[in-house]
């Protein structure tokens, strides 16, 4: 990635912007991993088309109740794959974000420039909470456009119409849904990112072990002492629970369910997929969200303090 040769006036400084840029320079996996995941999904999709699961595209033979669900399968799955990649990348990014600069001893170089610890840490926190979600959204949009175009091209090659496919896909609400999913994921996961950044700022090495083993230990102690899994359930909710808290399953239309059951009886594979819709009232009305955000703010404040206090080796 070549930086633009823009001439920056001497007096105009943008420490936050350039701090974010520097994270992207250093961690190329941030923008490479979602792209590679998208390429893998695309290859899988093309293979599927070639290997003959083209009847997936043949919506005309399906009862109307199943059309939408069937049409959405590759889109829903591909969005899930890219978002899962993003979360993994974000976790590992956070673990290395503040440990890496101490490990390669570049910390003092960064500290020799007039960029405050607060700006630096906020730029690092913005990567999983802002930059990666936006990047992921862009990758998902491009990937799904490619899948849709491939499907249309494939149908055209077979001499079939793509009209049923276009009609079945609620493109606007899909886009809104992805954006909402990424936004809520960033907010819900914020304390996890804060915790990982804290470990990264504190641990000399083995950040992964420091980030995970203490949590496991607490869970084990709870199980042994009280024979319960509350902490484990809490962790699972924090690490993977954003979608179930941000979306609700729309009440199924009984007529469609009945129709689907009838069709499913002889096709075997067909089933009614209940529609999952954004539920901002539920998500933003959840006190757990706000407690988590408060915890994230506190954790990041500690990270800023730690970077300040961390003595050069």
């Amino acid at each position: 990635m070549n930086a633009p040769a823009a001439i920056v006036p001497v007096t105009r400084v943008r420490p936050f912007y350039w701090s974010v840029r520097r994270e992207l320079w250093e961690n190329r996996s941030l923008y490479m991993a979602p792209r590679v995941a998208a390429a893998v999904v695309l290859i899988g999709y093309v293979l599927g088309l070639i290997m003959g699961s083209e009847n997936q595209l043949d919506l005309s033979s399906l009862p109307p109740a199943l059309v939408r669900g069937r049409a959405l399968v590759p889109y829903g799955f591909s969005a899930f794959a890219i978002m899962a990649t993003m979360v993994i990348v974000a976790y590992f990014y956070c673990l290395g974000a503040l440990q890496g600069e101490r490990g390669d001893r570049s910390l003092l170089f960064w500290k020799s420039l007039p960029v405050s610890d607060r700006t630096t840490v906020l730029a690092k926190a913005a990567i999983p909470m802002l930059v990666l979600p936006l990047l992921t959204f862009a990758v998902i949009v491009v990937l799904q456009a490619a899948i849709l175009l491939l499907a249309c091209a494939f149908l055209a090659a077979k001499g079939k119409s793509a009209a049923a496919l276009w009609n079945a896909l609620p493109i606007m609400s899909m886009l809104v849904g992805y954006f909402y999913a990424l936004l809520t994921m960033a907010l819900w996961n914020a304390p996890v990112y804060g915790w990982l950044l804290l470990v990264s700022a504190w641990a000399q090495r083995s950040t992964f072990l420091w980030a995970t083993l203490p949590l496991l230990a607490v869970s084990c102690i709870e199980k042994i002492a009280f024979d319960s899994w509350h902490f484990a359930a809490f962790l699972q909710g924090r690490f993977t629970g954003s979608i179930s808290r941000a979306f609700s399953v729309a009440p199924p239309d009984p007529a469609l369910v009945a129709e689907a059951a009838k069709a499913g009886a002889h096709s075997g594979r067909a089933m009614y997929i209940p529609e999952t819709v954004p539920d901002p009232a539920k998500f933003f009305g959840n006190p757990e969200l706000w407690l988590g955000l408060a915890a994230a703010v506190a954790l990041i404040a500690v990270v800023i303090r730690l970077r300040r206090l961390r003595e050069p080796v």
């Binding site: 070549n2 930086a3 001439i7 920056v8 001497v10 007096t11 400084v13 943008r14 420490p15 912007y17 350039w18 701090s19 840029r21 520097r22 320079w25 250093e26 600069e101 390669d104 001893r105 570049s106 910390l107 003092l108 170089f109 500290k111 020799s112 420039l113 007039p114 960029v115 405050s116 206090l309 003595e311 050069p312 080796v313």
Partner: protein, 287 residues
């Protein structure tokens, strides 16, 4: 206003005392050499000056408290430390973009001009450059910053003699202009002797010698004594004596040069000779 003013500067790491009450006053426009053995407290002193470590005692740098006002201070202070290495993944062009993007006093054209005199390519990453080239790059970045105080902690460690010479030549010819202040620590004292305006020896957290270079030259005299005059020379209380080529070399503090000239060949000692005389005696007993 002094550039750096310290009174009773102390710093301990657990039971180890790194700085044991240092008094320091550096005027603007000086080039101070801070010389000491490994672990003498040089880097700790510099870290305190740069606001990288908390300390006890009074310390002001450019009129500010370096620990509580570090963010503001770093607009006017710059440093190169042996341990402040450029990250290996950084491209030369990115280094220029980044420093230009965050430093209000960075003159990009100046850095480009300096780099143009080297063989460093814009597209190279730091890991592809030799150690000498990395130092050139770091120096190019730092010299293009209009800082009031430049701190150099072992800046030439691991460089060959040509890079070292070029480093100090560039610093003196292209950077230093008598309004800036430079503090440098190094083990290669012979190379900075002609660069410094002030000299300070630090040992076990204390300053054991502090002098301007003008005073240094008038105060200390080294005499290669003629064999027949050795006893007479010793009577004048040299602070150090060593043997070389079968001759005695005696180092005197505040002695009469004309009198010494009658005893042997007189010259101004090197910083290294004085360092051995001042520190070597005390350290020798301990180690």
């Amino acid at each position: 206003m002094q550039c750096i003013e310290a009174r009773g500067l102390r710093k301990s790491y657990g039971p180890t005392t790194a700085l044991d009450g240092i008094d320091l006053s550096v005027a603007p426009g000086r080039i101070l050499g801070l010389i000491g053995r490994n672990g003498a407290g040089k880097t700790t002193a510099l870290n305190a000056i740069l606001g990288l470590t908390p300390y006890q005692g009074e310390l002001t740098v450019l009129g500010r408290n370096p620990w509580s006002e570090r963010d503001a201070l770093m607009n006017e202070v710059c440093f190169i430390a042996d341990v402040a290495v450029l990250p290996r993944w950084l491209k030369v062009s990115q280094a220029l973009d980044y420093v230009a993007g965050v430093h209000p006093r960075f003159d990009r054209a100046k850095a480009e001009a300096f780099l143009a005199r080297t063989t460093i390519k814009r597209g190279s990453r730091v890991k592809e450059l030799s150690k000498g080239m990395v130092t050139q790059l770091h120096l190019a970045l730092v010299m293009a910053i209009d800082a009031k105080l430049l701190v150099l902690d072992e800046p030439t460690l691991g460089l060959d003699i040509l890079f070292r010479k070029e480093f100090y030549d560039s610093l003196l010819n292209d950077y230093f202009d008598h309004s800036r202040t430079i503090v440098v620590t190094t083990h290669q004292v012979e190379e900075v002797q002609h660069v410094l305006t002030d000299l300070m020896f630090i040992d076990r957290g204390r300053i054991v010698l502090s002098t301007s270079m003008e005073d240094f030259e008038s105060r200390y005299t080294e005499v290669m004594v003629h064999p027949q005059n050795v006893e007479a020379a010793r009577a004048l209380k040299p602070i150090h004596e060593q043997q070389a080529f079968g001759r005695s070399i005696l180092l005197f503090d505040r002695a009469d040069r004309d009198q010494l000239a009658t005893l042997g060949e007189v010259r101004t000692p090197s910083i290294a000779d004085l360092f051995v005389a001042v520190i070597g005696g005390t350290a020798g007993g301990a180690s």
